[in-house]
């Protein structure tokens, strides 16, 4: 009797566990594994007759029809490498400018009275509640009269403008958590305002800067609307390249391949920065 009871209970426990872990498993399968597999497979296919992609179904039959053609194409043409390099440069520059602009803003919000903080955060987010395109067009109107439109400068302005809140918010969240007693202690022990910032506030805010940088750097790499609308013909980035393959050239294998190369590059960069920052995880 007792044994049966326990056996049933164990079974019920496993059932619950299974039910609970089902949604995340499904999530990963449907949202990550399947699309990723499709993209990876697509990159090894030939383009379809009318653009797009030759059907994926024969893959599982005898005629697998896989090719390294697109990859060979990528590595044989130096222009791709150049665009990759430029894109990473734009992303890095955008991130850097966002850090410099967001820091005083985030600091000011974190230091203001508690009840005013939510309002200030709202003010930072508010400009971004309106449609993305509208905001870009507002910049066309602003930059036009100054003859700054269709330049790399306009692209950077647009990129910074669109991504700034993603730097402000994690930085603010980080700075808000700082214990004000730490700054008092540093001052008490002889540190002036400049030293207090560089020895205490800044190092403690590095996790916030890191989060914000990830949230800015990666989306900038995928962005195509801003270079298209604000940039000149020479301001094409990877995002545009990928978008072109899907929407204009309908060369899906090439688009998929480029997207894979981009992901690989980002992951390599992430691995590199994790390796450089190893052992610094102790920071609070």
């Amino acid at each position: 009797m007792k044994f049966v009871h326990y056996a049933l209970e164990a079974l019920a426990g496993r059932l619950v566990k299974w039910l609970v872990s089902l949604p995340p498993t499904l999530f990963l399968l449907v949202f990550f594994v399947a699309p990723s597999l499709i993209v990876v497979l697509a990159s090894f296919r030939y383009p379809g007759e009318f653009g797009g992609l030759a059907s994926l179904l024969p893959l599982f039959g005898a005629d697998s029809g896989l090719t390294l053609e697109t990859y060979r194409f990528f590595f044989s043409d130096f222009v791709y490498f150049e665009i990759f390099l430029k894109s990473f440069g734009v992303a890095a520059l955008t991130t850097l400018i966002c850090i410099v602009m967001a820091y005083p803003l985030a600091w000011l919000i974190a230091r203001s009275p508690k009840k005013r903080r939510d309002l200030l955060v709202l003010l930072v987010i508010l400009p971004f509640a309106s449609n993305f395109l509208i905001r870009v067009y507002a910049w066309i109107i602003i930059l036009g009269p100054f003859n700054l439109l269709y330049t790399s400068f306009a692209v950077i302005v647009g990129m910074v403008y669109v991504h700034l809140p993603f730097m402000v918010l994690p930085l603010y969240t980080n700075l808000e958590k700082h214990d004000p007693a730490l700054l008092e202690a540093a001052q008490d022990l002889g540190a002036n305002a400049w030293t207090r910032f560089w020895k205490i506030t800044f190092p403690l805010s590095l996790p916030g800067i890191f989060s914000g940088s990830v949230l800015v750097f990666i989306p900038v790499l995928g962005m195509f609307a801003i270079p298209e609308l604000l940039g000149g013909t020479g301001d094409i980035l990877i995002g545009n390249l990928i978008k072109e393959q899907f929407l204009d050239n309908r060369d899906w294998p090439l688009g998929a391949m480029l997207s894979i190369m981009l992901t690989v590059a980002v992951l390599a960069l992430a691995g590199l920065s994790a390796w450089a920052g190893r052992g610094k995880g102790r920071m609070a």
Binding site: A181, L182, E184, A185, D188, L189, I200, L204, A284
Partner: protein, 361 residues
């Protein structure tokens, strides 16, 4: 020689008078304690000394020099914060080295003095650890080492034992006394715990509602409180309502309601007819079984209503015939006997004619 002089200092926060014309002198080498309930202004005073806040009126002198124009980072005064405020991104070693780095000391001197400071607080083996890897007591000792390493003229301690548990607190009290004696730095210690204050300090300033009520050595403060607030705040005390019947040359004769005459030591300025209370420490109250007649002048019948057994001592709560409850503390000095009396026992409480202090209303 006085190291710190606080002269007529007043500080207001809106309607609240946090410090009300406070004047204090602290001597070099002292372990000086600011004691009072929360909101009495003791932490406000500490922040004024450290320079985090400025007085609305009055002046503060360190070694005879007015501190008003000196920002906190320039004052030779360091603070041990209640939360310790250790820098979480620095190792123990770097935390302790911080004030020396700020003072731009040569590297080998920094190395030497950090090593020595960590030895003093018995943390040499933790120098490479980060604060979050330490226990509460260890954090506290790092904060102490950091505050002392650059030999400040004053070390301010803001309830540094508040976050520790009882057993550890007791041990740290002993360590603090030894440390202060060894380094010879003047300590200004803030606490709301009268027990900590009594055990640690050379002198104590008892504060209440922004005013200093009394400044004295621990035993004087305990034995001769200047007023009712101090008597009540420091230790436990019985308050027996009474009226002055006569003032003799050597003592007072009081009349307690429904109890009779009580002899008490003379208090200046008290005259017959004054009403007030006789404040009497529980350990001054003797308690004996009813059969025995004590030789003491003041003795009254009572019934034991409750007792608080504390191991080394027991506190008996005795109801007197006038309904008033009186506490008596007895050390459990006889082997194998924890309690001398039980609840509902008939007893006689007694105290010497020169015990207690009369405070008139």
């Amino acid at each position: 020689m006085s190291i710190l002089e606080i002269r007529n200092v007043t500080r207001r926060f809106g309607d609240l008078l946090a410090l009300d014309d406070v004047t204090l002198t602290i001597e070099a080498g002292e372990f000086f304690t600011l004691l009072g309930p929360s909101g009495c202004g003791k932490t406000t005073l500490l922040r004024l000394i450290a320079g985090f806040d400025e007085p609305d009126a009055g002046r503060i002198f360190l070694d005879g020099v007015d501190l008003a124009a000196t920002p906190p980072e320039k004052r030779p005064v360091h603070t041990v914060f209640q939360s310790y405020a250790l820098f979480p991104h620095m190792t123990v070693r770097d935390n302790v080295a911080f004030p020396l780095n700020m003072a731009k000391r040569p590297l080998d001197e920094i190395h030497e003095r950090v090593k020595q400071a960590l030895e003093q607080v018995h943390l040499s083996d933790k120098s490479g650890h980060y604060p979050h890897e330490l226990s509460g007591g260890q954090k506290q000792r790092v904060a102490l080492a950091r505050g002392l390493v650059n030999k400040p003229r004053l070390l301010l301690l803001d309830e540094p034992l508040g976050a520790l548990d009882a057993k550890l607190r007791e041990q740290m009290e002993g360590d603090l006394i030894a440390l202060q004696r060894d380094v010879g730095v003047t300590f200004v210690f803030v606490t709301h715990s009268q027990q900590e204050a009594l055990a640690l300090s050379h002198r104590i300033a008892v504060m209440n509602e922004g005013k200093v009520e009394q400044v004295d050595e621990p035993d004087k403060l305990y034995s001769f409180p200047r007023n009712r607030f101090v008597a009540d705040f420091i230790g436990n005390i019985n308050m027996l309502a009474a009226r002055v019947a006569e003032t003799h040359h050597g003592h007072l004769v009081l009349q307690a309601t429904d109890l009779g005459a009580v002899a008490a030591p003379l208090v200046k300025g008290v005259k017959a007819g004054d009403t007030g209370v006789l404040a009497l420490r529980p350990e001054q109250v003797h308690i004996s079984s009813h059969a025995q007649t004590p030789e003491l002048k003041n003795h009254f019948h009572g019934i034991v209503r409750g007792l608080l057994y504390l191991g080394d001592v027991t506190v008996y709560k005795v109801e007197l015939d006038n309904g008033m409850e009186m506490e008596a503390l007895l050390a459990n000095s006889a082997p194998g006997r924890a309690k001398f009396f039980e609840v509902d026992d008939d007893v006689t409480v007694a105290w010497r004619h020169d015990a207690g202090l009369f405070f008139h209303d």
